[in-house]
Amino acid sequence: MNYFSDVGALARKDLRLELRSRDTFLSMVLFVVATLVVFSFSLPAQTEAEASYGLLWVALLFTAILGLTRAFAAEREQRVLDGLVLAPCDRSAIWLGKALAVVAFLALAELVALPAFALFFEPVTWELVAAVVLADLGLAAVGTLLAAMAAASRARELLLPLLLLPLAIPIVVGGVGASISDDPGRFLGFLALYDLIFAILSWASFEYVVTE
């Protein structure tokens, strides 16, 4: 039970920090809405629905990267991550707490993004919502691990997208597939499997990322 109490305390801390600064959430919402608006003007009127779903997933992916770039900003300042790493709690709790906070920020940004998508492009279906939820879990799992790796580097703004984009391609494939396919269950299952594999890998490897 201590483990989940630690995770809860760490996630609440991130939400409290965000409530005070509103830096991450606001920039994510502004970015995703602005991107959808630009897409709505740049696409020809006769564009097929499939293309607009593809653009939505591109916008969501880059919004996630924007949020993840800032995920360890507070820890980077004054080396707070060192303080957390020295605590006797399981270090994977730091990853899980942060990943839960990232999921919350993504979900909040999508609460604005999906109605905006429905307004400018196509209706939001339950398959799309399910795919977005599963994609959030996968992006948060792998993205939090990579954000912690990138946080130690001076070129973190460059390093994170370079590391994350190749690993996020299956999420985009699964997300677009679930949005437009006649058999969305297959793609949703694929996304769930991705989440499971990367959550276990990230959970198990976080300790080695934050220690020498």
Binding site: N2, D6, Q78, D82, C89, T211, E212
Partner: protein
């Protein structure tokens, strides 16, 4: 409690520590001195387990949760209050009677009145006092204090003198400082890095 043999640490091509042998027994007070760049902070980070040696051996006979580490930075969130920071660390360190312990430390380090203010509004000296509260919160067996007097005013320095005097003989202390005369009477061993 600490045993180092031929300890070395390099950052890229730069060697910061080289061939260091060190023995620190339980309840010793080791004072580490040396000019800037001599490796004092690196030695303490190695002892804390935050860095790995690039040469030699280092054994620390204390669990991670029984170690208190004071770094150059206070290792607290700037946008949380002192109370929120200590609550978080108190949970993670499983401090018994956490609230009472936090209240006692904040009172002792004269931060009680400012406990609901964000750390970003604190002066350097207040941040250092909060860092000391964080370091002592879980009543550690081994204290690694990197420049503990940095940023403290005269009153803060006197307060810390008293704290260290109370801890000496009860806990193991490794203190790196540019003011060794302040804790000279407590020291059981000295290490001068060049």
């Amino acid at each position: 409690m600490i045993r180092a043999r031929g300890l070395g640490r390099s950052f890229g091509t730069k060697r910061v520590l080289r061939g260091l042998d060190l023995d620190v027994a339980e309840r010793d007070v080791l004072v580490v001195t040396g000019p800037n760049g001599s490796g004092k902070s690196t030695l303490l980070a190695l002892c804390a387990g935050l860095l790995a040696p690039t040469a030699g051996e280092l054994e620390i006979e204390v669990e991670r949760g029984r170690l208190g580490y004071l770094a150059h930075e206070p290792l607290v969130y700037r946008e949380l209050t002192a109370l929120e920071n200590l609550e978080l660390y108190g949970r993670l360190y499983r401090v018994p009677e956490r609230r009472e312990r936090i209240g006692m430390l904040l009172e002792r380090f004269d931060l009680w009145e400012a406990r609901h203010e964000r750390v970003s509004t604190y002066s350097r000296g207040m941040q250092q006092r909060l860092a000391l509260c964080r370091t002592l919160l879980h009543d550690p067996d081994l204290l690694l204090l990197d420049e503990p007097y940095a940023g403290l005013d005269e009153a803060g320095g006197v307060l810390l003198d008293g704290e260290l005097a109370a801890l000496a003989g009860e806990r193991t202390l490794v203190v790196s400082t540019h003011e060794p005369e302040r804790i000279a009477r407590l020291a059981t061993a000295r290490l001068a890095l060049a």
